[in-house]
Symmetry: D2
Subunit: 327 residues, 4 copies
């Protein structure tokens, strides 16, 4: 399949604490608000070319509302919608939303709501956000962590393989790295349509829940900005779950935190780029993953059980998966 | 056109001082030698997945021997070769070279020799170059500047537009940024098939020569590595022409030096990535470029006249182009 | 002499454009206002332990008001005052100023007003500036360049040697590096009482004026923060005179800009530390300095002629000093 | 007391595996060998002004041989020796060692062998190690982690207070930060004679042993070099105990590893500088330290029990100290 999906477009996050979440995204991550509509606020990072990349919506529980992918062309959008519909995976067209045109909705096998769209509004900064350099979409304000752009999303799921295959078969995502446990279970898969080592990852949900979010990630240009972000988290009393450190899978330099609504957020820098058209997926086994992250760091237990919406792990029987690194 | 060319594969550099050039590429850039054959040595950076990405060939004068692009598939290779041949641009097939299979050769309008290939040898490190992390092609030795991968090439040419159009029409390169002078002349164009802001650039050759190289660039992950590379250049008495600093065009953080054979080499980090399928090319005018690089640095005169093979600028009538930034 | 002066305490800068200067120091450098008094505003950097380190005073012309050094002890203060008075250099005691106790005033030979004090007010942050880590004086806000602390001052002067000797004889400053021209003229001297490679520097004023300021410098922890500061300058339309790059003298990684009042400001990182009690001063000759900064950058002409208060160089006969690097 | 001790001069490390330790110090840390003598090898970092700063000596068990401090002057050396002798702490004079003159030996209360010296040999690089910049002691080779200079030493001890007081009373070390447990025990103290936040630290030895080493630390200029060092450790199969991350105490950016002989080594960057002559020591309580390092990282258990010479913790009754951060 030629490339039909261009990139991760935007994500809708749900939060039961909209005001505090807003403060987090503007003051800690450094995003800009572009629009408010109903119970939602739309935000963007300074390097995003589209008008917004985050839709923050008030809701009873945290989690991911929907994940939107931009198609390569109007024709690619129609082709993908047709294939999804023909195979019974589609939910149908909607008229679009603030900032983009009509989109075709569907669920991945685990039940995460997704959509495909093509028409989008290129960001036009108002005067005080005009950049000095014309090849930069927006002024760099330097506020908070000042993340550059939305980078990737990591979904929890009851089974990795069907989701990975669905994304490959219907949307053209290529497998970059995955973890295969000793019993043959695929515990995590990192896949992408772009040269980024992952646009989306699927990892096992130990709580057996469905449709949950592991984390949403924004990229900075440098590792130094991730270190600086950690200091900014401290000063804002943001809970740092783990990091900064370097993942073995993807080589990403990471910092994980929880935004006030409960969603896990990553600030990410430095994963490698894949230009080979015939990439040979990296397979990690259970023993290899047991040694921890690149420099030996062990992730906390919560990293393997916590997601949104929240599931009380005292109330469920956890899957007996070895604690493998969800990166 | 769907993507038919995957990425810049390798470049052959010519050098009249092969031993000193070799020492530069291994000790200053930090490349590894993978093979020697006739008057050529093949080298690679630690992050390159192919067996080699630089062919260094002894020759009477410096310059670029050939520039090789990897196709997306065997079929894409055949399709591109056919189109080039049908339109009279092709030179024909060769059997390939160390590390890759058959390739189709052609000249760009300015006369730079190029080739397309698909079959390639994935690098298999010998024991002492095996990496600790299996998703890294080769051990990181840290020697010299320890550049990560071959990044892009910048060609001098008598006229930018025909070369840019040729690369677009026959190979699918997309225009990312360009400079249009007040008289309408296109003075530079940055184009790519990947999300990198440029895989190749064409800029005007003020000496009116043809087929010359402006520079060949390797990427590092961080700007700090570019700063460190500058110190390494000092200690090796490598001539630094300009930098480190930040380009306005591409936002690349650059360091330019001359290798002992005379070719200009760039160590580069941080240009932005383009994921929009409908990218809107950035047009810089003469006045905008006159303010220099991003932070106001003015490039030296040599940056606008020096290339390889060497042309004695005292012997030619220089094109009267305003000194615009060749980035 | 044992160490009698502890460190550079604070500097008073004069500005004819107080509001714009204030905006620069708070929004671009990232300082905090601690007090306003008459025509002055007092500011501090997040890493300074004293209540303020910059006094910004409205005045008809830009320049340095006074430069204050903290003594090692009350006794050291009395001893230094006595010696200065006995030798006819003292101006006498004042009662102190916002944030510090009585101080002894004097002029250096070139006429820059200085003072020595000991009693000072340790900074106690109000609630919204309380740091998360108790060993940090103030919250890190990350605003603007977010410089860490006042670092050093560089004075222009009619003759370097008498000023260097005065600072050594009366205050114990040690010579770290200096430039001696071919005709024996000392063109610049970097001196310190701390292990910093310079707390103050004296360089020749090509305009033959007296009492002028070359620049006042703040330090960041990392070079990456200096690079980031350059982007912040761009977005605030702050004039960057030169940099970021690395000095040969001191090894400092520098960025020079003019604040709206006209004073030259440096953001500085990374000069080396001197712990040897018997340091051997580095002597640079004319030829060595002619090669430019560490990586070969040549400083602009203004770097060797511009200072505050402003002198119109068209109106004066410039000293015929080779353009040596004032670092 | 005026400053009588200038700085940490050199340290002798003992290793039962001299060849592997040597390879570690040259290839991983990037030190240079300056001399071999008997069972010892002398090494230096590129930024050290003295001929060597590490003496590596073959011995049956790992640990610290001796720790040497350079005095401020010949007179300061005599004064300190006299005071130590008068108070019964001195061991007497030795003639000196490779690279330095006569030294006065003594034990700290815990039994670590120390010495004071003044006369030293300034490093004169041979041709291939001559630096490009004359104000740099040695060429920057970039080999391995390429640490800049010996920075500090951390001693384990049976009781912190007597050692801290001894170093203050006899040698003038100033208390910068310390940890006081709920029962009043001083669990760690960071002290210095220089503006570095610590030249030496004392922390409780949970094994109740005496005279042990916790770690010896070298400094780099940047945090990026610490991150790079972690990758270099990976490629050399060096055991990383913890890090890179940021300490709460000292703010140091750290990476801890064990060299093949068993000694814990730190690569360190970025602790803050103290210029206040009347520094107010930071007191951390048990609860504050329980939250871990600056960004929340918890150190491994080994960090609180492992030292050299090795003590088998299964064989001893560990002190019941809360796991407080030894930084």
């Amino acid at each position: 399949m030629h490339q039909e999906v261009a990139h991760l477009g935007h994500v809708e996050l749900l939060t039961p604490r909209p005001d505090e979440s807003m403060t987090f995204f503007t003051d800690v991550l450094g995003l800009e608000v572009t629009q408010r509509q109903g119970q939602s606020v739309f935000l963007r990072a300074w390097g995003d070319y589209e008008r917004h990349t985050l839709k923050l919506t008030e809701a009873p529980t945290a989690g991911v509302g929907h994940t939107a992918w931009r198609a390569m062309s109007p024709e690619a959008l129609e082709r993908r919608a047709a294939v999804l519909a023909q195979n019974g995976h589609g939910l149908g067209w909607i008229d679009g939303d603030a900032g983009h045109g009509k989109s075709y909705q569907f669920h991945d096998p685990d039940g995460h709501l997704m959509e495909l769209y093509y028409e989008t509004e290129w960001y036009e900064p108002e005067a005080q956000l005009k950049p000095f350099l014309k090849n930069q979409p927006q002024r760099y304000t330097g506020r908070g962590a000042a993340v550059r752009r939305l980078d990737h999303i990591n979904m929890l799921c009851a089974a990795v393989t069907p989701n990975r295959e669905f994304m490959a078969d219907y949307l053209g995502f290529k497998l970059r790295e995955h973890i295969i446990l000793d019993d043959g279970t695929e515990a995590g898969a990192w896949i992408s349509v772009t040269p980024l080592v992952h646009d989306i990852a699927y990892t096992l949900d130990a709580t057996r829940a469905r449709g949950r979010l592991h984390h949403l990630a924004w990229a900075t240009d440098t590792r130094e900005e991730v270190l600086r972000a950690a200091d900014i988290c401290l000063e804002h009393n943001v809970f740092i779950e783990t990091g900064p450190s370097k993942h073995a899978v993807t080589h990403g330099f990471f910092l994980y935190m929880y935004e006030p609504g409960g969603n896990r957020i990553e600030i990410f820098s430095g994963g490698y780029l894949i230009f080979a058209p015939d990439w040979r997926p990296i397979v990690w086994n259970q023993q290899e993953r047991a040694r921890g992250q690149a420099w030996g760091l062990k992730l906390p237990h919560s990293f393997h059980t916590y997601g949104t919406p929240h599931v009380d792990i005292a109330e469920v029987e956890l899957l007996d998966i070895p604690v493998v690194g969800v990166e």
